[in-house]
């Protein structure tokens, strides 16, 4: 499989994603500079974390207009797998590939720590190697992860099972105390309606090898690879 990792000016988690795909998962990865127009050679795309354009105006607001984005939108429209991590999730929201928006963390603080996530939907290409209700430990590092959408959108997300990860306690209980940033309905990750685009605030690429202290992220990449293999790519 070939993963394309889109790099915007200010992206800084691209190298970690590259390392996990190539060194840990053993598949091919390549960087896609944000001015490139070609990404048809890729089987899946990752929009990594960072501070694209310095988070100027709003996080992801300017990256959303980078020359590569129409290709990303087209790739997603054709059913291609797109994983947006942290700033990548914010860019997908600004681009309208996922519904809703990010607000500043409730506490106004930038939070950098491991959190627990509950898997709410295990039949997506990103979670098929996980069990529904499984609790993962994945680190977060963000100042604007407070997910927001209006009431109608929230009902749609619930009805269509688009909520994939929620913040929870180590025992899998959702609560205000277990929610690090005030995100609506404890939402940490969602897919689009078709299920081929996932945005998540936590960083699975930071916990895919035991040497860095956690391996729960590995299963998300393994799920994607398994789905692609089954889809005959």
């Amino acid at each position: 499989m070939k993963f394309g990792i889109v790099v915007f000016p200010g992206s800084n988690c691209d190298a970690d994603c590259f390392h996990v795909i190539q060194q840990v998962m053993g598949h091919e990865a390549r960087y896609i500079w944000h001015k490139e127009a070609r990404l048809s050679d890729c089987d899946a795309l990752i929009l990594p974390g960072g501070f694209s354009y310095g988070d100027y105006l709003r996080t992801g607001a300017i990256a959303r207009f980078s020359p590569v984005m129409p290709q990303v939108v087209e790739f997603a429209a054709q059913g291609g797998l797109v994983l947006g991590i942290c700033n990548g999730f914010q860019i997908l929201l600004e681009a309208g590939l996922l519904p809703g928006a990010m607000l500043r963390n409730r506490s106004l603080q930038f939070i950098c720590k491991p959190v627990h996530l509950k898997v709410k939907n295990s039949v997506t290409p990103f979670t098929r190697k996980l069990r529904e209700g499984q609790v993962l430990q994945v680190p977060i590092a963000h100042g604007e992860g407070n997910y927001y959408c209006d009431e109608n959108t929230l009902q749609e997300l619930k009805q269509n099972r688009q909520i994939v990860f929620t913040y929870c306690s180590p025992e899998g209980e959702e609560s205000d105390a277990a929610n690090p940033n005030g995100a609506l309905a404890n939402i940490a990750g969602i897919t689009n309606q078709a299920g081929n685009v996932l945005g998540m605030m936590p960083h699975p690429e930071r916990c895919s090898e035991s040497i860095v202290g956690g391996i729960d992220g590995y299963l998300i990449f393994a799920s994607m690879i398994s789905w692609l293999e089954e889809a005959g790519r």
């Binding site: 105006l57 929201l93 928006a101 607000l103 963390n105 409730r106 506490s107 927001y148 959408c149 005030g182």
Partner: protein, 102 residues
């Protein structure tokens, strides 16, 4: 006469005059969207001994200078810019206000 460009207005081609418009765009959070920044500022104002402050909400002020053939076109373009980039319609409202150019 050549096509000299004048900061406040002039020719951008043969016989095409333009004016420079200055607009202030106010981008504010939609009512009902939580504003933790505004809350933090409100609490600080209380500490500064203004207990009468009930609510604070914080927005953005963006100033744009643009060339335009007429004000209606400039207004329309500024609204397009706001819809596309300057404001996030999921969480923000905006207002365009023209200012006299000196």
């Amino acid at each position: 006469m050549n096509n000299a460009v004048n900061r406040r207005g002039g020719l951008i081609g043969p016989d095409r005059r333009y004016t420079v418009f200055k607009a202030n765009i106010y981008v504010t959070l939609k009512p009902g969207v939580l504003d933790p920044q505004g809350e933090a500022v409100k609490n600080s104002l209380h500490v500064l001994n203004y207990p009468n402050v009930e609510e604070v909400r914080i927005g953005k002020y963006i100033q744009v200078l643009l060339q335009g053939e007429d004000r209606a076109t400039a207004q329309r373009e500024l609204e397009e810019m706001s819809d596309k980039l300057l404001a996030n319609p999921v969480i923000e409202d905006y207002r365009v206000e023209f200012v006299e150019v000196e």
